[in-house]
């Protein structure tokens, strides 16, 4: 019997993706584990593996098709010698309702089903959840199901982190603090509606149009959401870099020329570590706002904004406060390389508790960054430059950079943000604490 190959959800935030390329042709044999297609998700290009073996009977979604919803049949797999159906087989549903279920259905008039407010809401939600489960079985713990129904979260939009991909409580709880991850509905509410009428925008001005990539659309959606729902405010401070630069020179001079122990630490590596050390000292910034609660993270995982050809991505240096500069340096180099090649795995760029955006190498004097939800803060780092500074009444020259911390005012108040930047400055200006 034929089976459908469905558009997979390759990351928790993925609701649709672009079918980039087919790697198997119609009529070609496929065994379980073979890569059959490449999908461009919101963050990266990923491979689709076949779960069953058989013959690729029919391709339903052609290469280059944009915005294919998760779980849409993209191809039909048949067994050898089997006739290829034109249309995908319907999702596995139980046979037509047996007589026993009919009276139950009759007892609940269809019209009352959607208006499931007031008493019995839990019952209705549970019944609906079961109805959904019949279409495509969702593996979730009973507790995860109950919390999801109480909070109105659609389980089918979640990825399970439990045994064998089962959805467990932490997945549902995470979804409640990462609204982006749980919203299965198209993001029409927070994103400017897809523009149909190009003429209304461009008018007579000569122009051409370029289709936006999936990543570009996600960036648009998430940043619109962040900037319109998070009350941002900004705290700026000038930091002297000379001591840090001197330490860097000294450290790099101590590295063997090449071989296994060699390293080359960048200023960015040191600033990642400095931010992590600062967060350890001022942990109340390492949080997420979550409605009735604030989530305090036990680990310090730094997301660093990396620009890539078609947008940007934020790979994560996890537990950066526990890592040496050498470890951070090796890790960032590897992450950046793979980010630019589109080879990051979802867990390497999803999560993080604090972000850094560094435009120092581009010579900017200062800038403010948009918070990367559900985090509560992002540090914007500008270029270090020789500036006159006044010390003990004398003007001297120092290498100074301006950093700007953007914070979510729902969880971080002014005094706390000010404390954070002041500790950050002291860590950078007394950089030996980066070696502890």
């Amino acid at each position: 019997m034929s089976t459908n190959i469905l558009m997979p959800a390759l990351s928790p935030t993925m609701t649709e993706g672009k079918l980039l390329r087919w790697l198997k042709k119609e009529g070609e044999a496929v065994s379980a584990g073979d890569v059959v297609a490449e999908i461009e998700t919101d963050k990266a290009t990923m491979e689709v593996e076949a779960v069953d073996e058989g013959i690729l009977g029919r391709i339903l979604v052609q290469e280059g098709t944009d915005a294919v919803s998760v779980n849409t049949p993209i191809a039909i797999l048949v067994t050898e010698g089997e006739a290829v159906p034109d249309a995908p087989s319907p999702p596995a549903t139980p046979p037509t309702p047996a007589p026993v279920t009919a009276p139950a259905a009759a007892a609940i008039p269809a019209t009352t089903m959607p208006a499931a407010t007031g008493q019995g809401t839990g019952q209705e939600a549970r019944r609906q959840a079961r109805g959904q489960a019949r279409g495509q079985r969702i593996f979730a713990s009973p507790l995860a199901r109950r919390i999801a129904s109480q909070k109105g979260i659609d389980l089918s939009a979640l990825n399970g982190s439990g045994p064998n991909g089962r959805i467990v409580r932490r997945d549902v709880e995470q979804a409640t603090i990462q609204p982006a991850a749980s919203s299965a509905a198209p993001p029409t509410a927070t994103v400017p509606a897809p523009v149909q009428d190009i003429a209304a925008i461009a008018g007579d001005t000569p122009h051409h149009t370029v289709a936006n990539s999936t990543m570009r659309k996600v960036i648009a959606r998430r940043l619109s959401e962040a900037k319109s729902t998070i009350p941002h405010f900004y705290v700026e401070v000038d930091v002297e870099l000379d001591a840090l630069l001197a330490l860097r020179t000294q450290l790099n001079a101590a590295s063997p020329a090449d071989g296994p122990g060699a390293y080359k630490i960048s200023v960015n590596d040191m600033l990642i570590k400095a931010a992590a050390v600062t967060l350890r000292r001022v942990p109340d910034v390492n949080v997420s706002f979550a409605g009735d609660m604030t989530v305090h993270y036990d680990t310090i995982d730094i997301s660093m904004a990396v620009s890539i050809p078609d947008g940007l991505i934020t790979p994560i240096v996890r537990q950066a406060d526990h890592k040496s500069l050498g470890q951070i340096s090796a890790e960032t180099r590897d992450l950046i390389k793979r980010a630019r090649a589109g080879k990051l795995k979802p867990h390497e760029f999803q999560g993080g508790t604090f972000s850094i955006s560094n435009m120092g190498m581009m010579g900017v004097k200062a800038f403010s960054a948009i918070i990367n939800p559900p985090q509560a803060a992002i540090l914007a780092i500008a270029a270090g430059e020789a500036r006159p500074v006044v010390k003990d009444g004398e003007i001297s020259i120092a290498t100074v950079m301006t950093v700007t911390l953007s914070v979510d005012h729902r969880v971080v108040d002014g005094a706390l943000a000010a404390q954070w930047v002041s500790v950050f400055r002291s860590v950078v200006e007394n950089p030996l604490s980066l070696l502890v």
């Binding site: 009973p142 507790l143 109950r146 109480q150 045994p163 409580r169 526990h322 470890q327």
Partner: protein
């Protein structure tokens, strides 16, 4: 001298180390276990297992003195302490040999000696071993090292074990004579089990506890019931107690203890000190590494990773709870993680705790007080053994099962039990917690009749619509 190469080196062959080694062997890794004393560690040789053999003997002694209830009579009931101890040692020896066979079957190299971290060899970690038989040090190297060196009894000043009058767990496990009068200092699981053993063998037992109640980590209500049961058996229990002085005579020890505003002077034959443990962090080469030690325990992340890449710590050395099954679970998780499997950190609230005194105590998850402190709105269910047919038929009518649910989500936050066989039953609630079952599934579960486990079902019902048989 050449260095032997492995995928993983495990320092310590207790329930953390040897189980980790078996799992790593199953996953095709080349493993070495370095053990200084016995395979199976304290648990199997001087802890969990031999004490269960002793406690079993003491339960039999208790039963033989209470035959009348069942319609039996026996005169001249005696026991031979030497044989009781010998059986306990034989049980340990049998199981320790069994561990050796299991390791061999899984192609694990066992090295009998004292291992310590000894720097690097290229990308790998080196471990040097001083052989137990003497001779030259052996050098091993592997990209991954698991430290599983366990812990030992904490020693209080003035109560240093002397192998005669003041005992640690080790001497208490191999008595040559039964002390007539005994003081047990500390009422955690170890102290309480020895108190129970000696009391059921006929000693006069006093328990001295610095905290306000015995079994201080258990739910307060269960602590209270345990105290009542022990006092009914004739034990004296002093809580909130402070030892003012200890003086040793030739054959006796005199103690002055302050408790509840009164001073107790007592002269006893033996004192057992069971006041917690300290980690074995000395001489294992932690100096000069980034590994952090906090009050004799190695700091690790939820995946048992230390601050030094490629070095892990599991079991007692890596922090509480000090339980063999926690060590084993961490060992398996570590081995699977090193083999590249997808692993989940252990939730401390899903680790059961058991004390094998009479009556037994077992629990998992939060106590009632902790659930309240954490801000939960809770539902509590209680069901006493006196409402359970099997318990009455067995002559074990004293006991209680207590459940604590989150009123909002129906999550089983904690379960606490005291009574016969509860240590064998608690896993039912552990499965419920680990699988994230709610009150709904537990209510719908069919429990076999007649079993004491029906009390577990009833305690769930009691938290909601009401128990059926009480």
């Amino acid at each position: 001298m050449s260095t032997s190469q492995f995928d993983i080196i495990i320092i310590g062959g207790g329930p953390g180390g040897y189980v980790s080694a078996i799992r790593a062997g199953q996953l095709g890794l080349k493993v070495a276990v370095v053990e200084a004393a016995h395979l199976g560690g304290i648990c199997l040789n001087w802890g969990c297992i031999p004490t269960k053999a002793l406690l079993r003997a003491s339960e039999i002694n208790h039963l033989l003195h209470n035959l009348g209830e069942f319609g039996f009579a026996a005169d001249n009931v005696r026991f031979d302490l030497e044989k009781v101890v010998k059986r306990s040692r034989a049980v340990s020896a049998q199981l320790s040999a069994g561990v050796g066979h299991l390791l061999k079957k899984n192609k694990v190299t066992v090295i009998n000696g004292f291992g310590r971290l000894d720097g690097r060899e290229g990308d790998k970690r080196r471990v040097s071993v001083t052989p137990a038989k003497g001779g030259e040090a052996i050098s091993l190297a592997a990209p991954h090292v698991i430290i599983a060196t366990g812990a030992r009894a904490r020693v209080l000043p003035g109560l240093e074990p002397d192998q005669k009058l003041i005992w640690s767990y080790r001497e208490a496990m191999v008595p040559t004579t039964l002390p007539k009068r005994l003081v047990v200092i500390g009422s955690g699981a170890i102290g309480i089990e020895f108190a129970s053993f000696y009391r059921n063998m006929g000693s006069e037992v006093t328990i001295v506890e610095v905290a306000g109640r015995i079994l201080p980590v258990e739910d307060e209500e269960i602590s209270g019931l345990a105290r009542k049961a022990f006092e009914k058996q004739g034990m004296q229990i002093l809580t909130g107690a402070k030892i003012v002085s200890v003086s040793k005579g030739a054959e006796t020890v005199t103690l002055k203890i302050e408790a509840g505003g009164k001073t107790h002077d007592m002269t006893v034959d033996r004192v057992i000190s069971a006041v917690g443990i300290v980690g074995n962090v000395e001489n294992i080469g932690l100096e000069g590494t980034a590994i952090e030690v906090d009050r004799t325990h190695i700091k690790v992340d939820p995946y048992c990773r230390t601050a030094e890449k490629g070095i892990y710590a599991i079991g007692d050395i890596a922090g509480p709870p000090w339980l063999a099954h926690k060590a084993s679970h961490e060992g398996v998780m570590c081995a699977e993680m090193i083999a590249g499997r997808d692993v989940h950190p252990m939730d401390p609230l899903n680790i059961p705790g058991c004390t094998y005194c009479r009556p037994q105590v077992a629990s998992v998850g939060m106590t009632e007080a902790r659930a309240k402190d954490a801000g939960y709105k809770i539902r509590v269910g209680r069901f006493p053994f006196v409402g359970n047919g099997k318990a009455i038929a067995m002559g074990e009518p004293e006991g209680l099962v207590k459940t604590i649910f989150d009123a909002q989500t129906g999550e089983l936050l904690g379960a606490h039990m005291i009574g016969a066989e509860v240590t064998e039953m608690i896993q039912g609630y552990v499965i419920a917690r680990t699988s994230e079952l709610t009150d709904g599934e537990l209510k719908e579960t069919v429990f076999p009749h007649p079993t004491i486990s029906e009390a577990m079902h009833e305690a769930v019902l009691a938290a909601y619509d009401g128990a059926l048989h009480f």
